[in-house]
Symmetry: C2
Subunit: 281 residues, 2 copies
């Protein structure tokens, strides 16, 4: 478990990694930050979020807990190149938005004296960099622990504690399969819809007539193009199925319209209204 | 033009009609309300929003300006049955969400001594009935005047004045064709997307993992099933085309994913981000 003597290192001080050191330092924990950008390190030090930091991978060598807040392939590559610097017996975790492939790749290469437990703090946003770090956003977000049969109960408990320390109140566990299926629908499909709605034609001349509905539907069309294609490819089976299913449903609705089937459209709307009510807060 | 002696009748005191008499009475104008529901009339009187009211169509006989806040087919049927009660020389207007068909149907049957000028106050919502009337919502909404070549300049100016009195600040003019094309994309397609996303499968068990993005995207899946099928059918050509185009775009994105075309997906995301920025307020 984590206590005030636990040495924590966070690798990658972007929006999420930055928010981690912000929250942990505020509670009096000792954090080391590793990032390739020296201005990021300087800012984190200046704010008192990290006690030491830099781009040198050897900075992890004392850490009992290492958080990788990196894109999936950067995370895996870091381990390949630098895992010799990890302390024997340390616990490592991540923040990546897809899990099956990341867990498989990491466990394939990871030293046997280090335990990896996968986590997904669902608090990403389209803005990038430590300037947008804001741990207050964790309070209403989900923190999902994604253990495998190889994980110890202690690692799971430590992640629950970490999530609490970070400010999350909604903490749950899913298998990697459940997680990726859920993310494929709730997050990835919705982003594909928003992106496609903006791309279908240039309708920016309609801005004066645009109300809240269209803005709500397309907000996530502003998207980090360096990160999402990788996350989509790592969840390709789920996401392709979701796109196909959604497209089929869309075309079923179109056919009701083509046939002027008022009653059929009405039933679709009654069902969508009923289901959506369950998502009201 | 409208002055304090102008007699205004509003037919249908739902969310929109109720908001009209609320706003107009607050500015000291004399309103008559017609509605088939006696509790609605009683409430409107009790609040001081109307001076007289009831279900009798003859209540329009003194009105200089008559607003029809009814579903399209109810509006047209009302005229067929009751237009003999309209005062010669009066101006009539509406609030319907589609225009080409409504304008055509009305002008086909309307007495020649009455002028109809179509308007669309884009301030609808999923809740129904006078209890949800709230004229404060007009301030940030669009009021679109949809004149035809048959309309007088005076009628257009009167509608601009009406929109101002109601509290609208964003007032514009479109042709019926432009209006229906815009609505087919910005409003109708987005509702079809939200409805279809809720209907594609029962994902209500995912409620605990649901963040703002999914909620934003599906808010309008709570929809008035008595009104929208009619509006969709009256704009079928535009909406079917929009659904087809959107579905094609969605499947183009899917194919990029199937081919693991990172660069192609990235370009789509850069374009959607750029376009969506123009819709930021």
């Amino acid at each position: 478990m984590i206590d005030k003597n636990t040495k924590i290192a966070v690798i990658g001080l972007g929006v999420l990694g930055g928010s981690y050191v912000q929250a942990l330092s505020a509670k009096g924990y000792h954090c080391t930050g590793i990032d390739i950008d020296e201005n990021t390190i300087a800012l984190a030090k200046d704010k008192g979020w990290i006690e030491k930091g830099g781009r040198d991978p050897q900075l992890v060598k004392d850490a009992d807990l290492v958080v990788f807040a990196l894109y999936p392939h950067v995370f895996v590559n870091w381990l390949k190149e630098n895992q010799q610097y990890l302390k024997a017996g340390c616990l490592i975790t991540d923040v990546t938005g897809v899990k099956r492939e990341v867990i498989r790749s990491v466990n394939e290469i990871l030293r046997k004296d280090v335990e990896f437990i996968a986590c997904h703090p669902m608090a990403g946003r389209e803005s990038r960099g430590i300037h947008f770090a804001d741990a207050s956003r964790f309070e209403k977000a989900n923190f999902i622990i994604v253990p495998t049969e190889n994980n110890t109960q202690e690692a799971i408990e430590t992640m629950k504690q970490l999530a609490s320390l970070l400010g999350f109140t909604r903490i749950s566990q899913l298998s990697a399969e459940e997680h990726d299926r859920m993310i494929g629908f709730l997050s990835q499909l919705t982003h594909v819809i928003a992106v496609s709605l903006m791309n279908v034609s240039d309708n920016t001349h309609l801005v004066d007539y645009t109300g809240d509905s269209f803005r709500d539907l397309t907000r996530i069309a502003k998207i980090n193009e360096d990160m999402w294609p990788e996350l989509f490819i790592l969840n390709k089976d789920n996401l392709v199925r979701e796109i196909n299913d959604f497209s089929d449903e869309l075309l079923r609705f179109r056919d009701l319209l083509v046939n002027e089937d008022t009653e059929g459209m009405k039933q679709k709307m009654i069902q969508s209204t009923e289901r959506r009510k369950k998502f009201d807060r």
